[in-house]
């Protein structure tokens, strides 16, 4: 971007799982965005309301949505390291306010929301024309999370960015478009079915036997990493795509001891 253009001001929407479980993902986002010439701020925030919305509590979800819209009023873009939370902000907020006079304000907010890899690739134009030389011969697999894939069309962005930043080709799991079984409260309400789904996913990971397993949604990764670990897998190291792009995959993997 030309030097004369003022740096776009990004409000980082951290997401609950990252805020509470894995702050390094948020720090990686800040590094990536600042390196790409953005100014990053972190407005005070909590939950986007997705848990309430998906459990039929639309009133509660609306309350939280208003709070998020207000907190991010002063930024150019809202960026979230999660397809599912970004889609909540981008696609579901307007639905929540469909019949209200707040709709225009919410739509203006939603239009500025992007998932991290989409923002880097599609908006900032971080391109893979001159990919970085491959750092090593690691096999790296990518898990496409459902909301990102189907609600935001995220597929080639993380793959292109992995080539650009790390010179790495991301491998696809077999059945890569099938859900890992997380599904928010689904994984505890329907624990047996969720287990069936994540077991199938773990089988597909084992078949590819990657050194690293990446994804764009920490919640799905918690599910996958937890299952792999329970099965005694001590080889597959799980990271959020932001951590990998930032080159932080030499740090402790998700669920691994330091």
């Amino acid at each position: 971007m030309p030097a004369s253009t003022p740096a776009p001001k990004i409000g980082l929407f951290v997401t609950c799982p990252v805020d509470l479980m894995r702050p390094s993902v948020a720090f990686a986002c800040i590094k990536l965005l600042e390196d790409a010439g953005c100014e990053v701020v972190v407005p005070p925030q909590s939950c986007c309301g997705q848990v309430a919305w998906n459990n039929g509590l639309s009133g509660e979800a609306r309350t939280l949505a208003r709070q998020v819209v207000a907190a991010f009023a002063a930024v150019d873009y809202v960026v979230a390291p999660s397809g599912s939370c970004a889609s909540m902000l981008k696609n579901h907020y307007p639905t929540l306010f469909a019949d209200s006079d707040e709709l225009a304000r919410v739509e203006a907010f939603s239009a500025r929301v992007y998932e991290l890899t989409v923002f880097l690739h599609d908006v900032l134009g971080v391109q893979s024309n001159s990919p970085a030389p491959a750092e090593n011969s690691k096999t790296v697999a990518y898990h496409d999370s459902c909301a990102g894939l189907r609600e935001l069309g995220i597929r080639q962005q993380p793959r292109a960015l992995a080539r650009h930043y790390r010179g790495v080709h991301l491998g696809d799991l077999e059945d890569s478009e099938t859900c890992c079984g997380f599904g928010g409260t689904f994984c505890v309400k329907f624990a047996d079915i969720s287990n069936h789904m994540v077991t199938a996913k773990a089988r597909q990971v084992a078949a590819l036997h990657p050194d690293l397993l990446l994804g764009g949604d920490l919640s799905c990764l918690l599910n996958l990493a937890g299952k792999l670990r329970r099965q005694g897998d001590r080889d597959t190291r799980v990271f959020h795509i932001a951590e990998f792009l930032a080159g932080w995959d030499d740090r402790p993997a998700l669920g691994w001891e330091e």
Partner: protein, 472 residues
């Protein structure tokens, strides 16, 4: 209070432990997904076909009453009869009245999901009329005394070994063995052929009704529909009011997406068009009846759930649903399983446990992606969750979520308590990266470890690094 989801959970747990069922599901799933994908890839622009099909369905629902009136008028003018069944009981009564009037003792049946919905077979049996299924899948589950587990492949839950066992039990095979699939099909064909010739009435469903010409369209792959419809002297079509479209053009727009979505065929082996016997026709049934079931469908018109009536019953949503694929159709305890069933069952039947079916989804969205008529299934499931949250109110789930939401509404308190909690948890876990046990997390930890938090919350670390600037 037991959560209404418990029934589904209990059935699904049984299904997950049923090795035969799991084998049958594992066998069926990749075929459905792959075949649909190849069929879609062979079309220049499947999305355009989907958009057209969706538009056809939406238009027909918008003017459903007038299309139905035209359909009835055309069928009547051609010498047939249209009957209106407000409820499933009405449908049973109407069919039985027709059957009794003809003195019928046996009826062949093509696959009719509306017949399943109305439990028509039981009613026929009670009235002393032997219903004989002619669709191979339906025939198998009739032998087994089971309901269908899939709307296109009713015996999908059965393994070949189980089918052989049923045939060995019920057929007089003598020395013959049923070693191959061909043997099984031949055996069924021999028996079912006899049934065609004995039948007094034939009952089929319909995939589409065409108002312009009063035509019933039926898609099959076995040709059983045609023999059921044309050999007996009376043909009864049992279907539902939502199936009507304006014209043959509209019908062909649906046919272009139906078989591709269902079985990955460009078109089903047999696509049949039925109506009353014409003056110049050399053959065909003398009596032609169409029984149109409402069963609360008309209440969905103009409601938040009207889009569900766009459904053309292709089964793509269940073929691609990870939950259906894990637990099979019987777990849904409804003739309509999978995502479309999870929406339709509470709306059409509305038993207390039915609403819990809407919870059994991760909202992965694959059903909506493959739906050929653009039904926003996840959004409809979410609306059902909203309805049941309003009715149910205060289950333990909602309280937890409401508590969390309350906390999330107080950002300062949220940040303070979460940073304290995560820091504490990180300290407790020490250098362990994951937990295998933790109080209150049993449902997660039963099957997987949980990564411990890295330290205090990100927001806490961030503000600390920035000198606590969010105090303002």
């Amino acid at each position: 209070m037991t959560a209404p989801a418990e029934d589904f959970i209990a059935r699904s747990r049984e299904a997950l432990g049923d090795t035969s069922l799991q084998a049958a599901l594992a066998r069926a799933r990749p075929g459905f997904v792959r075949k649909r994908a190849s069929a879609v890839a062979l079309v220049a622009n499947f999305d355009a076909l989907k958009a057209k099909a969706k538009a056809v369905r939406q238009r027909s629902l918008r003017d459903l009453d007038s299309y139905l009136a035209v359909f009835e008028q055309r069928v009547t003018a051609a010498g047939g009869r249209v009957h209106w069944a407000a409820t499933t009981a009405d449908l049973r009564r109407i069919v039985l009245d027709i059957a009794r009037a003809t003195g019928a003792r046996s009826a062949t049946k093509g696959k009719t999901m509306v017949g399943e919905e109305a439990k028509l077979n039981e009613a026929l049996e009670e009235a002393g009329i032997q219903p004989r299924e002619t669709d191979l899948g339906e025939y198998i589950i009739q032998l087994a005394g089971e309901p269908p587990s899939h709307i296109v492949a009713p015996a999908l839950h059965k393994t070949r070994a189980q089918i052989v066992e049923l045939f060995l039990r019920d057929h007089h095979l003598g020395e013959r063995e049923l070693a191959s699939v061909k043997d099984l099909v031949d055996e069924a064909r021999t028996v079912i052929r006899r049934h065609y010739l004995e039948a007094d009435i034939g009952i089929t469903g319909a995939n589409i009704l065409i108002a312009d010409t009063g035509t019933c369209v039926l898609c099959t792959n076995e040709g059983n529909g045609d023999l059921t419809a044309s050999l007996p002297n009376t043909h009864i079509v049992t279907t539902s009011i939502d199936k009507v479209v304006a014209s043959w053009d509209d019908a062909s727009a649906l046919l272009r997406v139906l078989a591709r979505s269902a079985t990955g065929q460009a078109i089903t082996t047999y696509t049949s068009f039925y109506g009353p016997r014409g003056d110049g026709d050399l053959d065909g049934p003398e009596h032609f009846h169409v029984v149109l079931l409402d069963n609360r469908r008309s209440q969905l018109l103009g409601s938040d759930f009207q889009e569900m009536l766009q459904c053309i019953k292709c089964g793509a949503c269940m073929n691609h649903c990870p939950v259906y694929q894990a637990v099979g159709g019987h777990s849904y305890n409804s003739v309509y399983p999978g995502p479309m069933g999870a929406v339709l069952t509470p709306l059409l039947r509305g038993e207390p446990g039915d609403f819990a079916l809407a919870d059994a989804s991760t909202f992965c969205g694959r059903c909506e992606e493959v739906c050929p008529v653009g039904i926003p299934l996840p959004a409809l499931l979410r609306k059902l969750r909203e309805m049941s949250a309003r009715q149910r109110g205060q289950g333990p789930g909602p309280w937890l979520i409401k508590g969390f939401t309350w906390l999330a509404r107080h950002p300062r308190l949220y940040r303070w308590s979460t940073s304290l909690t995560t820091a504490l948890l990180a300290r407790i876990s020490g250098r362990r990266g994951s937990w295998r046990r933790f109080p209150g997390l049993g449902r997660w930890l039963r099957y997987r470890d949980l990564a411990a938090p890295q330290g205090s919350s990100f927001q806490h670390q961030w503000r600390k690094a920035r000198g606590g600037e969010d105090r303002a």
